[in-house]
């Protein structure tokens, strides 16, 4: 007992040490990739903007405040991004819209990661019948193109922010479960897991402490890319009239509802479009960079 206790301590310490050095190593490699750094910088900037949105512009007093005589103003000093069809300041709406867009994507990714990830971990680790049943169910979901699945779910539940999140989350659960399952399968039978088993670790601790950290890399990459995909899908759903409800600003919705003005008031689509582009581009650059940095084969 005592021996095994001290052994576990050693394992624990080595692991912590290894973890720290791994993170440093990844950061060192990421630093070399300028594109990824730019991506990271933009992402951080976006998050700061979104977090401090209320400081920058008041929601009630500016973001949703209508001023109809002042509608459809081209960009000027007073309104750097112009005003929309209800005379609301576009810059303020873009900043607050980012909050909505990013939260929708992040929350839905978090949900699908949680559900898909745990399903993947369980099935990958235990294998056998559970694996069979759950993966067959996942196959069914995988057979429906994700956008179409999301459209069907939102149309069925009725368009609202919550239903949008549900649809987005459900449609990417299979992807996450596949990824986690795959990486669990890869490490399931390697030596240190067997060692852990040998010293009497429970299934739960093995999954949480050993296996999940190992699927961290692919999951992180997929998460960054998924956030981008979700933003794009939200925009597509808005285009089909299945987006958020007014007066909440959201990029995809703004882009979609500004499209009727695309020719005389192109700034109504240009700025939300650029915001979406910048976000997706930077998330992709960051994701690609992370993938390279996390891949031990590409040292």
């Amino acid at each position: 007992m005592e021996i095994s206790q001290s052994k576990q301590d050693v394992i624990q310490k080595t692991k912590q040490y290894k973890k720290r050095s791994q993170i440093l190593e990844v950061w060192r490699r990421l630093k070399r990739n300028k594109a990824a750094l730019i991506g990271l910088a933009i992402v951080i900037l976006l998050f700061l903007m979104v977090i401090f949105a209320d400081v920058l512009y008041d929601y009630k007093g500016v973001v949703i405040k209508q001023n109809i005589p002042n509608r459809l103003q081209h960009p000027s000093l007073a309104h750097p991004f112009g005003t929309d069809e209800l005379g609301r300041d576009m810059l303020a709406r873009i900043i607050h819209g980012g909050r909505m867009s990013l939260s929708i994507s992040l929350v839905s990714v978090a949900f699908s990661l949680l559900i898909g990830g745990s399903l993947g971990a369980i099935t990958g680790y235990f294998g056998g019948r559970i694996d069979m049943v759950i993966m067959r169910i996942m196959d069914i979901f995988l057979a429906i193109p994700p956008t179409l699945l999301a459209i069907t779910i939102v149309a069925a539940l009725g368009p609202s922010t919550i239903n949008l999140v549900i649809a987005l989350a459900v449609s990417s659960v299979p992807t996450f479960s596949r990824i986690v399952r795959g990486s669990v399968l890869m490490v399931r039978d390697v030596e240190f897991i067997e060692a852990a088993k040998a010293i009497g670790a429970t299934n739960r601790t093995i999954i949480i402490e050993h296996i999940l950290p190992n699927s961290f890399a692919p999951v992180l990459v997929q998460t960054t890319l998924s956030v981008a995909v979700m933003i794009l899908t939200t925009a597509g759903l808005s285009f089909l009239g299945l987006g958020v409800q007014v007066p909440t600003p959201e990029w995809g919705f703004m882009l979609s509802s500004g499209r009727t003005y695309i020719r005389d008031h192109s700034y109504l689509t240009l700025f939300p479009g650029l915001a979406i582009m910048a976000t997706i581009l930077s998330l992709n650059l960051l994701g690609d960079g992370l993938r390279d940095a996390l891949d031990p084969r590409l040292k």
């Binding site: 209800l86 007014v246 700034y267």
Partner: protein, 533 residues
Amino acid sequence: MNHQGKRLAVLLFLLAFITGMLTGCGGAAATPAPQQEAPENTAAAVKPTAAEAPTESTPKKDTIVIANADEPPSLSPYDHNAIYADYMNQLTYNGLFRLDETSNPVPDLVDTYENLSDTEWLFKIHDGVKFHDGSTMTAEDVKASLDFAKTFPAIASYTASYSSVEVVDPLTVKVTTNGPSAGLLYDLAYHSNYIVPKALIDSGNNFNENPIGSGPYKYVKWTLGDKIEFVKFDDYFDKDSMPSITNVTWKFIPEGSSRSIGLEAGEIDLLVEVDTTDMARLKGNPDLVVLEHPGFTHNWLMLNNEAKPFDNPLVRKAISTALDRESIIEVALNGLASLTISQTPAGMLGESEVNAEGYNVEKAKQYMADSGVDPATVKLDIICSNETKRRAAEVIQANLAEIGITNVTTTSMDLATYLQVTGKGDYTGAIGGYRAFNMVAFLQNTFHSSAIGGSNKTRLNNPEVDALIEKAAATVDQEERAKILRQVTELLNEITPQAPIYQELYIRAYNKDLGGVAINSAGVLRINKLYWK
């Protein structure tokens, strides 16, 4: 390190390039120009494209390409209620009557007619009317068609006015109505009562796939999801209205901007549905003509009169007077609609603005105070089933906040859900509209208690209103009927079941070389009258 620097340069270059392209093609025409000048400016930019269009080179065109947003559910006249399907029906079928430029019924297949008594009408059709299958129309076909139409529930409200049809001689039918009917001739002009060959009804012909009628154009081909093609019917009975253009191609383009661009680029000759945002530009284009006509479609903020506190007429009046209709029309339709404060459509027999009130915040606050309802407790959810309605609802949200009703939400719904919840009365508010060809039909379908569960969505159940509508429906004399209809309108304005907002404009935009384009308030467009100049 050097590579990295280059990579960074590329990134910046590319971003600059992309931004350039986006602003370049998205806004080049409009960016520097102030709002009012935009149309001229854009039109000038568009001009060279129109000149390049291949259509200019051909000397005489024998084809017209028309476009609208939605594909018709059916080419049969009997099993739908969609205005855009009626466009197709008008090409291949005729009714006994049709609506003229002022939206009054005039004889079409009918040659002469006679009102025998309050409930009996004698219709004599033209001799020698040919169907597309070569057969000649007789009174038997008329009877069979009208009897057939009565079996379709979707169009039941347009077949309810007549009870029986009898063949008097090979060219004459006698139609008996359920009591005196003011709406019969209007109903007979509606697509649900178009005439088809009896033989085809008997043989179980699918009129959706094989739309045989007597209309000016014959059906050729339906490319599902794309277009329907028609060709001129050489034996058309009405020689004065013989089509001048041989081929008609009707395309379905859901996206509004794509439609306008198609017209500007010369791919399309005539648009029957135009996005109001594109109007200014289309009007400024010297190669195009834009026609506007006030339509009968009456739009409003529907309120469920059974739901609290909207059962209180003072609350409804407060809401109605709080609406800044001008702003709503400006935002939702770019100003292209006629403002309305009356419960019934302008332009129809029996219109009136007596007892109707427009935008007045002070008055709205007073009504609210008089109602005894605390505006902070009012909860209104406005259902919108399309983009225009959503924009309108957004302005209404702000308008109602002015009188203290701050708890106003909006819900976007697809048409299917909208129809179900509003039909069942499972809602508080919605932006809705109704199109009818005459006042009696309008009133019966929107305010008569028998239409509750159907199109009476406010669920108004007022015996006085019901009685007046029934009286008007049974009054054949026009002047007498007008008096009663005005009475109903004024009573409804007093009750304010819902808050009227606007009446849509019918818009047609077309190639300037196209002649003979005319529309009426019912949206009827006679393609056989069009010609290339």
